[in-house]
């Protein structure tokens, strides 16, 4: 049986309260088109226009956001980050999924069904 990494994330967007989205390593993720993003030093900041909320990304977050310019799976992101950063596979996977979950929660990215 293939190793499955399934986690549920509550969606906090208005109208979607209580709905959970299940993200696996094979979930395709895409940016929300209504996010305004700007680099700031090594970090990045973003405005979710709908929610009127502001967020910041650290260096790794900025890299993930850049990679999401084209929609891709969590697995593809993990593999790319493994190649670019000094990090073990399980740490990388856990941190990537955790981060993507936060982006989903905040409505900054969406999971394709």
């Amino acid at each position: 049986m293939p190793r499955a990494c399934e986690r549920s994330f509550p969606l906090l967007r208005a109208g979607a309260l209580g709905v959970t989205v299940t993200m696996t390593l094979d979930t395709v993720l895409r940016r929300d088109p209504d996010i305004v993003y700007a680099p700031l030093g090594d970090d990045g900041v973003m405005l979710n226009i709908d929610a009127g909320s502001y967020h910041s990304l650290n260096q790794v977050g900025v890299r993930i956001w850049d990679l999401l310019e084209t929609p891709r799976t969590a697995r593809a992101l993990r593999d790319q980050l493994l190649a670019e950063f000094e990090v073990g596979e399980s740490d990388c996977e856990a941190a990537t999924l955790d981060f993507l979950g936060k982006l989903l929660e905040r409505g900054l990215i969406h999971a394709e069904a």
Partner: protein, 302 residues
């Protein structure tokens, strides 16, 4: 025709702008202010606010029993005085709201705060009414700073991105005898500003290049759980602060795109710091707060 310089704009005016510094008629004016017909309403306004309405590139501002102002295309203000109203009273609304709205039409980055400078470097103090921004700025001037702008602070970026605060060109209201009265006034519980002896001075910052912006301090009064001191704002909080402290933020929101606003804020934050300054309620400790602020600012300078 009179000539003024206001927040980097050359202004010609049929109306005397009380409190504004005269400028030389050197070059084509950016803004023309004249007396003329102004409608009482716009035919199809897309937005309305308290006393104003917008339709396209035109904003109508109505101040009851005083005057109506038509602010157009970021380059013209037409004033119609109501019967019996004085031009001198109306000129305050030209220098304040009307030019503030016009600056938004031009896409300028306008913050609602007071700016002071020292050795060619500037800080802006923002905060709600009553947070003490004017008091702080006036007190800083007593400690050797010069006034740059009060109320309407325009930040412009050099070609290399360096942010500068443009002097607002007003003869600034300095509250000379007020500082030593602050303690007394605070104990009386009165509004400090009203007790101030206002008089006009010509700011020395009008000469030479506008000062470089080092930092923006958002002022708030201390109350639990906020303790006195200066804390850097995390980037999302800094962006939120710059949005909230914009001059007439709702109008700015309607006249610009989110992309433009974020780009302006980020451009500013690349060079200038954003801090929360929590000040003690007690004016008796104002002096220590100001010394702390000046020391913090000195630590930022190259």
């Amino acid at each position: 025709m009179r000539h003024y310089r206001f927040s980097g704009l050359l202004v010609t005016s049929e109306m005397e702008l009380t409190g504004a510094l005269a400028g030389a008629p050197d070059g084509a004016p950016d803004v023309a202010i004249r007396f003329g017909e102004v409608p009482r309403a716009l035919p199809n306004p897309s937005e309305t606010g308290p006393a104003w309405a917008r339709e396209g590139d035109t904003i109508l501002l109505c101040v009851p029993n005083l005057a109506r102002f038509l602010i157009s295309d970021g380059n013209a203000i037409t004033v119609a005085l109501e019967d019996g109203a004085s031009a001198r009273d109306a000129s305050g609304f030209v220098l304040g709201s009307s030019l503030g709205m016009l600056l938004h039409q031009r896409g300028a980055f306008v913050l609602h705060g007071s700016a002071v400078a020292m050795n060619g470097r500037a800080i802006i103090v923002c905060g709600r009414s009553g947070a003490g921004k004017s008091t702080t700025a006036a007190a800083l001037c007593q400690k050797g700073c010069s006034f740059v702008a009060d109320d309407v602070c325009v930040v412009s970026l050099d070609a290399d991105g360096t942010p500068r605060v443009l002097p607002d060109g007003r003869q600034l209201k300095l509250w000379q005898q007020s500082i030593d009265q602050l303690d007394l006034e605070a104990r009386r519980g009165g509004v400090v500003r009203e007790a101030f002896d206002k008089y006009f001075v010509a700011p020395d910052t009008m000469a030479g290049e506008p000062p470089v912006l080092d930092a923006i301090y958002q002022l708030r009064k201390s109350r639990p759980p906020f303790e006195d001191g200066i804390e850097p704002l995390a980037p999302p909080d800094a962006l939120r602060m710059l949005q909230a402290e914009a001059y007439r933020p709702m109008l700015r929101q309607r006249l610009s795109t989110p992309q433009h606003r974020v780009a302006q804020s980020v451009a500013l934050l690349r060079h200038a710091g954003a801090y929360m300054l929590t000040r003690p309620l007690d004016f008796a400790r104002l002096d220590a707060t100001l010394d702390g602020l000046l020391e913090h600012w000195r630590g930022l300078r190259p």
